[in-house]
């Protein structure tokens, strides 16, 4: 008997682009209801592909889940369209702060409202402005011209407007100043706690991710190579070496090599 119910479970999926390019080779991830889970890994590991498999955006890039299954609240979703999946309450915040740049900040938010079931657009906007007061000041500005941090807030706020159950965040900290990252992640944690929104967080900023998410998966070339509580991962020598940059080795070697090297070393001593 599991203690917590999973809102999302990915069971050993294999993903191909264009029917031949095998990118995910048996990935399994679980996100508990109301939880935050981090997915870590270097560039090109397949993190974004994992998120796109869940949200259905994979199909836009001619990708397909060719094996395994993705279940959301007990329903298999990997054959559903992106629109159907969004309607079920899974929203992916695509990497790179993709605001609708010719619309104002508030208009961006209103686009998110088109899926709203309960309450009015006004209620949704009030909620977003409650969590992101900066957006209230910038509401009538064209989204293409606000700062990077405000754009990130806009795309998260836009997702919030849909009343999501699970938000998939793809590298929200990328290219932002530390102060802003701090501000945004505090808000994300508040949203998780107060609005009970489950979060699957993809990050390259490992230190940050491990502080925010109680549980994390580490991915490398299309496979999950490790998963554990963040407490344990922070203490893990390999993670320290390769991701937290506490030693020199990680800078040149791949994670797998480091692990291999470490294991041998442990045998010897």
């Amino acid at each position: 008997m599991e203690a917590v119910e999973n809102i999302l479970s990915i069971n050993n999926i294999e993903v191909k682009y264009h029917e031949v390019i095998l990118v995910l080779k048996g990935v399994s991830i679980e996100v508990p209801r109301g939880g935050i889970v981090a997915l870590l890994g270097a560039n090109g590991a397949g993190k974004s592909t994992t998120l796109k498999s869940i949200s259905g955006l994979l199909k836009v890039e001619v990708g397909e889940v060719t094996d395994g299954a993705i279940e959301f609240e007990g329903v298999r979703i990997h054959k559903k369209t992106a629109v159907e999946i969004a309607k079920m309450g899974i929203i992916q915040v695509i990497e790179g702060r993709r605001v609708f740049e010719h619309l104002t900040v508030e208009e961006n938010l209103k686009v998110g409202a088109h899926l709203r079931k309960t309450g009015s657009v006004r209620d949704g906007l009030d909620l977003v402005y409650h969590y992101f007061p900066r957006l209230l000041q910038k509401r009538s500005e064209v989204a293409g011209f606000v700062s990077g941090g405000e754009q990130q807030m806009t795309v998260v706020g836009r997702a919030l407007m849909t009343e999501p159950k699970l938000v998939l965040l793809d590298e929200p900290s990328m290219g932002l100043a530390p102060m802003l990252i701090h501000e945004i992640f505090n808000i994300l944690m508040k949203l998780n706690k107060e609005e009970r929104i489950s979060i699957l967080l993809v990050e390259q900023n490992v230190k940050l991710a491990l502080n925010v998410a109680p549980y994390a998966y580490v991915m490398e070339t299309g496979r999950i190579v490790m998963d554990d509580t963040s407490e344990k991962l922070k203490e893990n020598e390999d993670i320290k070496d390769f991701y937290l940059g506490l030693s020199e080795k990680g800078k040149t070697k791949s994670f797998a090599e480091v692990k291999h090297y470490k294991r041998r070393k442990r045998w010897l001593t």
């Binding site: 309607k87 209103k110 011209f145 849909t162």
Partner: protein, 294 residues
């Protein structure tokens, strides 16, 4: 002087109708990146549909409403049948399909309604002019202009203030990001064709009121192309300024140049103007230049 102002007002009035048709053009381009060369025929069909309802005794305003509804249905049908399968194909292929579509629709119109010029009978608006000071404005031009502008504003309000309209603009900006929020591009494409058909159809009905309805309305619809390009293909304010400019230019060419270059100059002049204009402003007046930020 009087002739000058007469020409100017007539130009503005007709320009209002062009602006409406131009809006349809802009919408399809903005939402799906397709330059719809069948727009002239959509205008033509709108004129005939309104005329048919009116001839059956339906009041004019109701006939326009019926045209709007038929516009929605035809717009969605055409998008679904001819264009949906082409999503993702090279844009030139899609544009060529709209060329084919324009021939097909022209043939269809000839088949259903024949090629004789038909007029709205009894006339809806009197051709008699009313006078403001020294200006004589014909009533039919005046009301057509008012109707066109009202409809134009309704469409713009739809885009600016409803979530549907905003979702369409969002898709125009970033299709994948819109999809990530559950906005279906296929829905948006169909909706843009429906609205374009409504705008063009009513524009056609208004033009038909002025000149009578025959195949040449299709060419008037095409005459809007310079207006659209002038304003910048994806700019709504551009549609209105472009429409008015072309209306004015066309009428001035008709009044002042027809004596020197008899025949056709009225129709050709806007195109010539567009060509020269684009040399200097290749994005049109307000076309998108991608927002670049540091």
């Amino acid at each position: 002087m009087e002739l000058f102002f007469m020409t100017l007002t007539t130009g503005i009035m007709v320009g209002g109708i062009y602006a409406l048709v131009a809006l349809g053009w802009v919408l399809i381009f903005k939402c799906s990146g397709v330059l719809n060369l069948a727009m002239g025929e959509l205008t033509l069909i709108g004129a005939y549909v309104t005329l048919s309802f009116y001839s059956m005794g339906v009041p004019f305003v109701l006939s326009i409403l019926c045209t709007l509804i038929i516009g929605i249905v035809l717009g969605i049908l055409i998008e679904r049948i001819f264009l949906d399968k082409l999503i993702g194909e090279p844009i030139l292929a899609v544009i060529m399909v709209t060329v084919g579509l324009s021939f097909f629709l022209k043939g269809l119109v000839g088949f259903i309604w024949g090629t004789d010029t038909r007029v709205f009978e009894p006339a809806i608006f009197s051709l008699k002019p009313f006078t403001i000071g020294f200006l004589k404005i014909s009533i039919v031009y005046f009301w057509s202009f008012v109707l066109a502008i009202v409809l134009f504003l309704v469409f713009v309000a739809f885009f600016k203030y409803t979530r549907w309209g905003l979702s369409m603009q969002a898709t125009a900006d970033d299709e994948t990001a819109a999809l990530s929020l559950g906005v279906s591009a296929r829905f948006v494409y169909a909706a843009s064709w429906a609205i374009a058909f409504m705008a063009a159809g009513v524009g056609g009905a208004l033009l038909g009121n002025i000149n009578g309805v025959n195949i040449s309305i299709g060419y008037l619809g095409l005459l809007v192309l310079p207006a659209v390009v002038l304003g910048g293909l994806n700019s709504v304010p551009g549609a209105i300024v472009g429409g008015l400019t072309i209306g004015i230019l066309q009428n001035f060419a008709g009044t002042y140049l027809d004596g020197f270059f008899p025949g056709g100059v009225k129709e050709i002049f806007p195109f010539a103007f567009m060509a020269v204009f684009l040399l200097f402003k290749p994005y049109g007046l307000w076309g998108w230049i991608k927002i670049e930020r540091m």
